[in-house]
Amino acid sequence: METIGVLALQGSFAEHMQALRKIAGINPILVKTADELARVDRLIIPGGESTTIGKLLNTTGLSINLCKRILSGMPVWGTCAGLILLAKKIDDEQPHLAVMDICVKRNAYGSQLASFECQKLIPEISNTPINMVFIRAPQIISVSGTTKILAEYEGKIIAAQQNRMLATAFHPELTADLSVHNYFLRL
């Protein structure tokens, strides 16, 4: 049985755990230490504040282990803040893990007053439209290298994939729809 980690330094890790517990045949665990990271086969980096999670990754030294695991092929999925942490380029600050060939703009839509929900079909992921929640969401400005664009909404890239790295600007963990979680488990 695969062990699926959810990085639990800050943010919506409990919501990801709740979603993973609905999926049979996997063992979801919270990851806060290097030992816990070593036990997982895949890792989700949740939503939250990217600056907070990024600083905690550095303070704890966890970022070094995490980069090594990702570069050696461990599947990883970043939602919202997680997407920012994966990016090699961020418009207004230094990158964090810098493993994925995407360029990201933080808070691309503005303050909380600009947060929104929508539905959108992503054929690679599911054959029905996915409910998407955007909260102070980032935008992928551009992709390079082997990164593929999975979805755009109103001209903005909202999901991308590079090999076994998945990035979504929205929060599947806040909805009952498990299709993105299931897609990540197949990567």
Partner: protein, 292 residues
């Protein structure tokens, strides 16, 4: 299609496991962001100064709030007086991320809180017990925090309020349906929310701890008691070494269950804010009793 109430509750979920810090200027806001705060609360005077200086405490100058908003990338919150819906309209126009309808400021209405459903911007409100939390949620608050006793550096009231909420939820989940209405009546709580909590065993919104948190140990204590995160007001910028203490409290909230990490981050922080014994506060000058 967009359900604003749900989106606003969802934003609070993104703050979980984090520390929201009171800041009074751009320099402090940058220190807070650099330390790993998940959000800042922009205000002119921290609660301990409001307590010392007295007078009427009001919403902060929009100019100062805007400067802080421009200076940091993390969410910005600001306080309005209880019941002062025009201050709230002004903060909404400033397009900040969250409004705190706060007992730390001097109440503007002695009977009513703001009708928060009339706004698009989310609100956080203080509570001392489950009934008060549910009244605020019913009015439209998308996040709750314990009141504690702000500006004292004394965690005892935050503990009291967190324990009260947890115990009352526990009590309610063990009561048969027939007893829910009497519970609602006795706690001054809306029946529909009482019934919902009896079934789910938890608040429908995120609940942070606030009021008197001054050390990493205080923050971890509140997390172990079930808080989703913490607000630190005077505790950081009225201490010896704000940058170091802020960073330590951020670590303590993430690793609240790991005493070794807590020992490490608690070391050599310099003096915490001095603090006040609650019993020494003159009658009628406690903030927590404000709110209806």
């Amino acid at each position: 299609m967009t359900d604003i109430a749900k989106l606003n509750r969802d934003l609070a979920k993104m703050l979980k496991g984090g520390v929201i810090m009171d800041v009074t200027n751009v320099t402090e806001a940058k220190i807070a962001e650099e330390a790993g705060a998940v959000a800042v609360m922009a205000l002119e005077r921290v609660p301990s100064d409001i307590r010392k200086e007295g007078g009427v405490a009001r919403m902060s100058d929009p100019k100062m709030i805007n400067e802080i908003k421009m200076a940091v990338s993390i969410p910005v919150m600001a306080k309005v007086r209880i019941g002062h819906f025009v201050e709230a309209q002004i903060l909404e126009a400033l397009q900040i991320d969250y409004i705190d309808e706060s007992e730390v400021l001097t109440p503007a209405d002695n009977l009513y809180h703001i009708d928060k459903h009339a706004f698009k911007i989310p609100f956080v409100c203080g509570a001392r017990n489950l009934g008060e939390a549910l009244r605020r949620i019913c009015e439209g608050a998308s996040m709750i925090r314990t009141k504690g006793e702000a500006g004292t550096g004394n965690v005892v009231e935050a503990v009291r309020h967190m324990r009260a909420i947890t115990n009352e939820i526990h009590q309610l989940t063990n009561q048969p349906t027939a007893e829910w209405m009497t519970f609602a009546k006795e706690h001054g709580a809306p029946y529909e929310l009482v019934a919902q909590i009896a079934k789910t065993g938890k608040l429908p919104v995120v609940n942070f701890a606030a009021g008197g948190i001054a050390t990493p140990a205080d923050a971890a204590l509140m997390m172990q008691l079930g808080s989703d995160g913490v607000f630190v007001g005077s505790g950081i910028f009225r201490s010896d070494n704000p940058a170091k203490r802020a960073k330590a409290i951020v670590m303590a909230v993430s690793y609240y269950q790991d005493p070794k990490v807590l020992a490490e981050v608690s070391s050599d922080l310099g003096d915490a804010m001095k603090g006040i014994e609650i019993a020494e506060i003159p009658e009628g000058q406690t903030f927590a009793k404000r709110g209806w």
